[in-house]
């Protein structure tokens, strides 16, 4: 028996190139479920992505119109697509190195501009594809290829950053919280304005082995045991929260959307000219 969801994928290149136990596959799986349950026609989706392991989710696996862009510029390209084709669902799936590191400025300015994009940031805490270099989300004191004595920097809280920049929707879930993640992905796609879901994901090959979790399942159990609901954060001390995964919906608001405001101005000038 074949999986019904395989119709959304480019099946000629399956099985995926992801390592065994990688969280990117789970994100792909849940995204297929979301598209199937929301009955979105894949022809109405434009996927934009950058460089990295998680950028393989839309390109090549998910079978929709896809832009595979240069490193960090996924949101810049997606902004252009959305302005020209506002009726399409423009969805960005990329990693933490791509969106938070190299394209960090694009991310916060797209959130500030509140353009109607849906962004799924698959956060595996490291530059996994290139061999495990430190990324802006790597926790302090974790040894990586470029910080062999431990990371001396503090990580970005990327979902909070996007929420503070003005996004209409921001949430964080992990690949362990599959049902919550599915709901958050649906909400993010439906929400008008910039919607952002940070998905904490396991990377057994490049990150897990450096923190003593060599299998994907070890990191999933870590997500399960060390997650705190955002509504209960006030009960904990700041230093306890440092190494926890704070999951939940961080912001939901209804600020005016960028392409709509742009179209209103265009219409105003069109009327004056007519």
């Amino acid at each position: 028996m074949k999986n019904n969801l395989l119709k959304y994928l480019r099946t000629e290149i399956l099985p995926t190139e992801f390592c065994a136990g990688c969280g990117c596959g789970t994100v792909l799986n849940i995204f297929c479920h979301v598209v199937d349950e929301m009955k979105i026609n894949p022809d109405d989706i434009i996927m934009v992505t950058g460089i990295g392991c998680s950028s393989w989710i839309p390109s090549p696996y998910f079978s929709a119109d896809t832009l595979h862009t240069t490193h960090g510029r996924a949101i810049a390209f997606a902004t252009g697509v959305k302005v020209m084709k506002p009726e399409k669902h423009v969805i960005v799936i990329a990693g933490d190195g791509d969106l938070a590191g190299i394209g960090g400025n694009h991310l916060i300015h797209a959130a500030r501009r509140n353009i109607d994009l849906t962004v799924f940031l698959v956060n595996n805490y490291i530059y996994g594809m290139t061999g495990g270099q430190v990324s802006p989300t790597t926790p302090s004191s974790v040894p990586t290829t470029t910080t062999p004595y431990g990371n001396t920097e503090s990580p970005f809280k990327i979902a909070e950053l996007v929420a503070a920049a003005g996004a209409n929707y921001a949430a964080r879930w992990t690949t362990y919280h599959i049902f919550h993640l599915k709901k958050a992905m649906k909400d993010a796609i439906q929400k008008k304005g910039f919607s952002f879901v940070e998905i904490c994901s396991q990377c057994p090959t490049s990150y897990g082995k450096r923190i003593g979790m060599r299998e994907g399942i070890d990191q999933l159990k870590d997500f399960r045991d060390n997650s705190i609901d955002i509504r209960k954060v006030s009960e904990y001390d700041e230093n306890v929260l440092e190494n926890k995964f704070i999951v939940g919906k961080i912001a939901e608001r209804t600020r005016p959307e960028f392409t709509e405001s742009l179209r209103k101005i265009n219409m105003k000038f069109d009327e004056e000219r007519a």
């Binding site: 999986n3 099985p15 136990g21 596959g25 799986n29 599959i178 399942i217």
Partner: protein
């Protein structure tokens, strides 16, 4: 008279599976077991050994990184207990 419940079948796509064991470990009812069967890429794939215990919670289908697990729920059947 026994309880009525949905008949559940679990299929595993042997060629997509990479033997990461996530379904075996996360199943709350221990439905899966690692089998002796090796697929064409050299992975030991899991098999559902306790289908009667499956509650159809969908965790394995949703979390499988390779879309290799399919849960099929069919019409109500009466348990003969």
């Amino acid at each position: 008279m026994g309880k009525t419940r949905k008949k559940i079948d679990i299929y595993i796509d042997k060629e997509l599976c990479k033997g990461c064991d996530i379904c075996i470990e996360l199943c709350g009812e221990n439905v899966f077991m690692k089998s002796e069967h090796i697929n064409s890429r050299g992975y030991y794939i899991p098999i559902p050994v306790a289908l009667d215990k499956c509650t159809g919670c969908m965790i394995c289908e949703l979390i499988c990184p390779e879309l290799a697990v399919i849960i099929e729920k069919s019409e109500l059947v009466k348990e003969t207990v």
